[in-house]
Structures are given as C-alpha cells and as structure tokens.
C-alpha cells in the first residue's frame, strides 16, 4: 500500500500522540476502513503503540477494521425513530440484504450499520444511504430506494 496519502494526512497535524483520533478519522474517510498496514505505519510515525491504536480503533463507532461497501446504510435507532418503527425498518433491511449490522453485502455494494441518533427526529424513521437522508421510511419504500442505488446513484 502506498503511504504517500497517509503521509499527506499525517502532515495535516502536529505529529503528536494526541493527534491519533483525527488521523484515524481521516484515514477512515479516505479508505472507508482502517487498513492494518496503515495502522502499523501510523504507530511508528506518532509513537503510539499498536495495541493502543487497536484499543482506540475498536472503542469508537466511527472506525472499522473491515472494508466497507460502496454505500453505507445507517439506520437511525434513536428514540424518536424507535418509537416510530425503526426496528421494523432494520429487520426489513436485514431480510432484503441478507446481512446484519456491521456486515457488508458479498457484492460490496452495501454496508449496514445502526446509529443511535442522527438528530433529524422529525423525519423518523430515518435511513441514511451513502450520505443521503431518506425520511419517514416504511418497509415498503425500502425496496424501491435500494433498487435506485443498485442501478447506480441515489
């Protein structure tokens, strides 16, 4: 793996151990996960033990050690969405995609995850696909929405 891009990310910060989380966030944004090689490299550059990086990488929800699909589907499980039927939405997605939260479809198209609140409670139940908000979701609407992404583009 080419480390020039990682160097570019590291260059945005002072290079201190306290910069670990922002650096990991940028790496996550660039690769959609944290590749092991990159973590080993960062460990050397920031002088943070790999074990501590692993601790941080597995502690925060923002990080993933597995590659993510083309589109990340985030199902809001906030309280407002919950009382408006988010569990049914999640279950329908699991059934349609054949994966559980934290997993990616075999074709690399969709990753499924749950989030506690996206703060757009008026639109609940809410599903965010590849950054686009789809509010007032129903199990019936899901199929059509997913088909649009499969065809390419929201």
């Amino acid at each position: 793996m080419e480390m020039a891009e990682v160097e570019e990310i590291l260059g945005r910060y002072e290079g201190e151990p306290g910069d670990l989380i922002p650096v990991l966030q940028d790496v996550q944004e660039r690769y959609h996960y944290l590749p092991e090689e990159v973590l080993r490299y960062i460990s050397g550059r920031l002088h943070v033990p790999l074990s501590q990086i692993y601790h941080v990488a597995t502690f925060y929800n923002a990080f993933s050690l597995q590659p993510k699909g083309k589109y990340t589907i985030s199902v809001c499980m906030g309280t407002a969405c919950h009382v408006r039927g988010a569990p049914t939405i999640l279950e329908s997605l699991q059934r349609i995609l054949g994966i559980r939260p934290g997993e990616t479809t075999p074709d690399g198209m969709f990753s499924l995850e749950t989030v506690h609140c996206l703060g757009a409670c008026a639109l609940g139940p809410l599903v965010v696909i590849g950054g686009d908000y789809h509010g007032r979701m129903t199990p019936t609407k899901l199929d059509a929405v997913l088909r649009r992404y499969r065809k390419g583009g929201g």
Partner: protein, 621 residues
C-alpha cells in the same frame, strides 16, 4: 476585512453594518438545518437564488424592491420543513418545494402572500400568516435560538450586526475576571449538559486552580438519542458559542480552547470551523484579542462516536487521543483536566447562554425560570407528537404546555408518557403532566433534565420495550471499565428481552429493581450511575405492562413481536390483494375481491401488510 484592534473598532464596524443594512429590507430566510436539508431545502435555496437573480432583485445595494437571500440555521419546526420565512414581515411558509419558488417571488414583488403554503392551525383550522403567530412558536421564549432563523451562520458580519461580540467588548472594557464569575454565579445558570451543576461555581473553581496554562472545552458530543439542540446551535449560530467560550477563557485565564463535536454532525463541524476562521481574521481569537492583553485560540476536535464521551473525563481522554473511558472525580477537570491542566468544560447551551447573561445582566436572567432553575431550556420535542421540533421555553413551564400547547399532542391516540433526559432519564406518565419542568421536579419523579431530549410516547409505545431499548443502548455504549455497569446492564437487557419475548417469569421485576440499584451504586460515572432510570421509572409507573407481558404473555401496546399477531378483519378487507403481493413471506392468501387471511406459521410480523393496507383491515393483537 482587517483585524479589529480595539472594542471601539468593533463598535465602529457594527455601526457601519447598521448603516449599510436597511432593517426594513426584505430578505428570504431559508432554513438549512439538518432536518430541512434532508427535506430538500438546499434545492429550494438554489431555486430562490436563481429566481431572484433572474428577476434582477438581488444584491445588498440600496434600492427599492431589492431582496436578499439568507441561508440560515435550524428554525426548529422541523416537522414542517423545508421552512422559508420572509422577513421583516415574518411570513411563514412550510413544506416549500422548488416549484413553489416562483410563486413566492411573485408574492414578494406584489406584496402578497402565497396562501396555500401557509401553516394551518390544526385546532382552529385557520391559516396563519406570521411565524410568531404559529402556535408552535407563540408559546416559546427564544433567547438562545433567537437569531437562528435570522442570521447566516457562515457570515460573522450577520452575527455582529445583531449585537454579536458586544458581551465580549463589555467584559474586556468594564469587567475583571472576578466580576464575570460573580455575574455568572448571580445569574443562577446551571450546566445545560444534564447534571445542572452551578456554572459560576465551576468557573470559580477553575479560576482558583493553580496552573499557568488552562483550557476551555465545549462539550458538543451530543449523544442522547432524540436530542439535537446542540447541533442546531452550532449549525445556526456558532459565534454565540464561541463568544461564550472566549468570555469563559477570560474569566478563568485560559489560553486554548477545544470544541469537541460529534463526527456525525458534519454541518456543525463545517460551520464552527468557518466561525473560528472568521473570528481569527477579525482578531476576536488569537493574540491580543481586540487589542487587549488577552490571547486565546480555539480548535475543533471531532468525536469518534462513543456515547460515553459526553461524560467530561471521558471526553478529555478522547481529546488526548485515547479511548474515552471516564476516571474517578475528584480531582475535577476544573482542577486537573486536559493534559493534567485546569480545564473549564461546559455544554454548548451553557456557553451560548453566557453572552446573553453578560449583555442583559444576572438580575434579568435570574428572573426567568423557577427558584432553582434559571433561564430558558431548549427541548427537542420528538416522537409521537404532532409538532416535532426544537422548542425553547422558560424553565418551569409544565410538561402539558410543552406537549399540548406547543407540540399539539399526539398525532393519533393519546399521549401515554414523556421521556426526558435520554438513556439516563425516565418516563413520566401522563398523570404527572402538570409538573413544572425544572431540575428538581424532574428528579423527584425519577427522571432528569438531561440535555433536553423529550420523547413523547402514545398508546402504541410499549414501556417494557422502551426500557429494553435504553438498556441496550447503554450496554452497547458502556466503556466496560466498571463490572457493575458492563455486566449488570447485560443481565438487565437479558431479563428485559426475556420478558418481551414471552419468557418472563415471576420475580423478574424484583430482580431488575435489585440489579438497577447495584448498577447505580457501584459504577464510576454518570452512564452507569443513571442507567437504571429508564427501567425503574417504567416499573414504577407502568408495572401493569410488565405484568401483562410476564403473566399473560401479552403486549398491551402491540409492539413486542413475539407476543403479537397480525390478522385481517374479514368485514373490512376488500380483497384488493395489495398485502398478498407485498408480503415477503408469502404468508397471505385469498381470492381477489374476497377477504384475505394470514398464515400465522409463515408470518414474521414485519408489519408490511399493516403498512400497505389502505382500508385499515389489518389488525394487531
């Protein structure tokens, strides 16, 4: 724009802006908060820009009939978004679509109003023209949110034009650090993050702490599900938070500040970054602020998505680049915080309250609210309520006023309970709706103020399911340091799952109560310490629902899947076949135009038939 070298420079700039900006000139404020953006307000904004330019109405120059366009932060009434308000008249348009824009601009030119886009008061059935007359807004007292729908959050001049950084000037010109702390103490302001610790006392403690380098932190790790007011403030008026932080830094003698904001809030991060950049450009941050002795700068730290980081010591660990695990207090962060140095940490709303207090005086502020809880509080009123959105009200308003007068009640059915305080809060039954909302009253009934999430629940909300929901979140988000929290929550979730899936047994309720007590007593931080609230409050007020699940294997609200079944009402079903075609399990059968039937063995209770039926023929029991 060049640096302002003194407070007089700032006032001169403000006078110039006042002169340039005719207060009577029309502008169209398009809400671009997260809710409205998700409903399509960015396209509406673009359409306005094009239409206004096409008709030659744009620009900030002096001329009759000119119209400005302003992209603002969250107006609060998310349910009705995208929202567009024509000011200064305050004409309120809701659910505006791109194709409505030419008609609105026509009305702007002719001085008319587009009737069909007005809000209709559901109780009177009458159209409401002005924003201030919409019941949702009429009962509010907007101090922190006052400028949210009026200023462009990405333009510091908008903030300065409405009096921004005047409190900072006042502090630098007229007040010593001790005066500022006294003012905050006298105002009675308490921490808006949830616990309600007196803000002035925290500041005093930090000021007295030894250390030549101190920090100021803004806790914007808004983790409570159903709460989004901190985000709306950062998105809609970031300078008000920044001004509060600068004043706090002046009071305690801090050199550096950090805004710790959730990574899930990209727009808040963006607007805060722009605000910091612009404040630096004007010399409101950096060396010798407004030509004074004071030097202070702020940076942003994006959170990693861990609920526990809202706890101050966990947040500090996260800023230091570590996993966000809390540590015992004392020492408090005011004594030993970030990098072991004295650190003043406050919530977004607390910081934004500071300029308001300085400008209007502690006396004025302390007259708002109740004896022990001063000022206003922002709630996000969500769930089974008609008028979902952000509301700002004086402390002491009753839950009933909030839920009915402002929220309009539940859309269908009766309100059963109100949940406040996020996963650490409790469920308050409708019998207690007349209690005034302040820190003490909420605690008395087994809940907390929290950061202001307020979730309305109706007859179709199962309270056991709600308890399980909150315990699952907390179990998931427990950092794992304390055994009582880590293991206790897991056991509680297992028992609650058993109850909701029909495996509940006698003694489960008592066991839950016992576990709850241990988790609360033996855990280090507030996550574990308050974790039992959702369970204990639902047992206290809705014990019969638990008992129905355990003894009768029945979910009265019709939510718990293992205990419900879907059936089709023969006399209502028209045999249209929509449910049959949509059922993913092929569990529905029937001849066209004849009543259909659900095969209970195949049914997975996904609810699709209920969702698609246009005749209300699907019943849950």
């Amino acid at each position: 724009m060049s640096r302002l070298e003194s407070t007089a420079d700032l006032e001169a700039l403000r006078r110039r802006l006042a002169h340039e900006r005719d207060p009577n000139r029309r502008y169209v404020a398009v809400c671009c908060g997260t809710g409205c953006t998700a409903s399509g307000s960015r396209d509406v904004l673009a359409a306005f820009k094009e239409e206004i330019e096409r008709r030659g109405l744009s620009g900030r120059m002096e001329a009759e009939g000119r119209v400005d366009l302003r992209r603002t932060g969250c107006h609060g009434f998310c349910e009705q978004g995208p929202l567009v308000v024509v000011r200064p008249e305050g004409i309120f348009y809701r659910r505006v679509k791109v194709e409505d824009v030419p008609e609105i601009v026509d009305a702007l030119e002719s001085g008319g109003v587009v009737e069909r886009l007005l809000y209709v008061d559901p109780t009177t059935g009458e159209k409401v023209v002005k924003e201030e007359d919409v019941p949702f807004y009429r009962h509010q007292q907007r101090l922190l949110l006052a400028n949210n729908g009026r200023i462009d959050p990405t333009d510091i001049m908008d903030y300065i034009a409405v009096g921004g950084y005047r409190a900072l000037s006042k502090v630098l010109d007229e007040m010593g650090p001790e005066d500022v702390i006294r003012e905050i103490k006298d105002s009675g302001l308490r921490g808006r993050g949830g616990a309600g610790f007196p803000t002035g006392i925290k500041w005093e403690l930090c000021r007295r702490s030894e250390g030549d380098f101190k920090y100021v932190l803004c806790n914007a790790d808004e983790g409570d599900p159903g709460a989004f007011m901190d985000r709306s403030l950062l998105e809609g008026n970031p300078h008000s938070v920044l001004e509060g932080m600068i004043i706090g830094a002046y009071a305690v003698g801090a050199r550096e500040g950090v805004v710790y904001v959730r990574n899930e809030y990209p727009l808040a991060v963006e607007h805060m970054s722009i605000a910091i950049e612009q404040a630096r450009g004007l010399g409101l941050l950096g060396e010798n602020i407004l030509g004074s002795e004071m030097s202070f700068d702020v940076r942003i730290n994006r959170g990693g998505g861990a609920f526990v980081c809202g706890e101050e010591t966990a947040l500090i660990a996260s800023v230091e680049g570590r996993a966000g695990e809390p540590r015992p207090r004392p020492p408090y962060p005011a004594e030993r915080g970030l990098w072991g140095r004295p650190t003043l940490i406050n919530n977004v709303k607390t910081w934004a309250s500071v300029p308001i207090i300085i400008n209007n005086g502690a006396d004025w502020f302390s007259k708002i609210g109740t004896k022990t809880s001063k000022g206003t509080m922002i709630f996000s009123l969500v769930g089974k309520v008609k008028n979902t959105g952000l509301v700002e009200v004086p402390m002491g308003i009753t839950l009933r006023q909030l839920v009915y007068d402002i929220g309009g009640g539940a859309p269908d059915g009766e309100v059963k309970a109100v949940q406040t305080g996020g996963p650490s809060g409790g469920c308050i039954p409708r019998e207690l709706m007349d209690i005034p909302v302040d820190y003490e009253r909420l605690a008395e009934v087994g809940s907390i103020m929290g950061s202001g999430g307020m979730i309305v629940m109706d007859e179709r909300t199962c309270m056991v399911d709600v308890a399980k929901y909150f315990v699952s979140i907390l179990e998931d988000e427990s950092c794992g340091k304390c055994t009582s929290c880590r293991e206790g929550l897991r056991q509680m979730r297992k028992i609650l799952t058993d109850i909701t899936e029909g495996r509940g047994k006698e003694g489960d309720i008592e066991l839950l109560e016992e576990l709850a007590e241990v988790v609360a007593d033996a855990s280090l931080c507030a996550l574990g310490g308050t974790a039992p609230n959702p369970v204990l409050s639902t047992i206290k007020y809705f014990r019969e629902e638990y008992e129905a699940h355990i003894r009768e294997k029945r979910c009265p609200a019709g939510v718990c899947r293992a205990l419900i079944r879907y059936t089709i009402l023969e006399d209502v079903c028209t045999g249209c076949g929509l449910c049959r075609r949509n059922c993913p399990q092929g569990a529905i059968s029937g001849e066209p135009k004849k009543p259909h039937k659900i095969d209970q063995d195949k049914c997975i209770r996904c609810g699709i038939c209920l969702d698609v039926c246009r005749f209300g023929a699907v019943k849950v029991e």
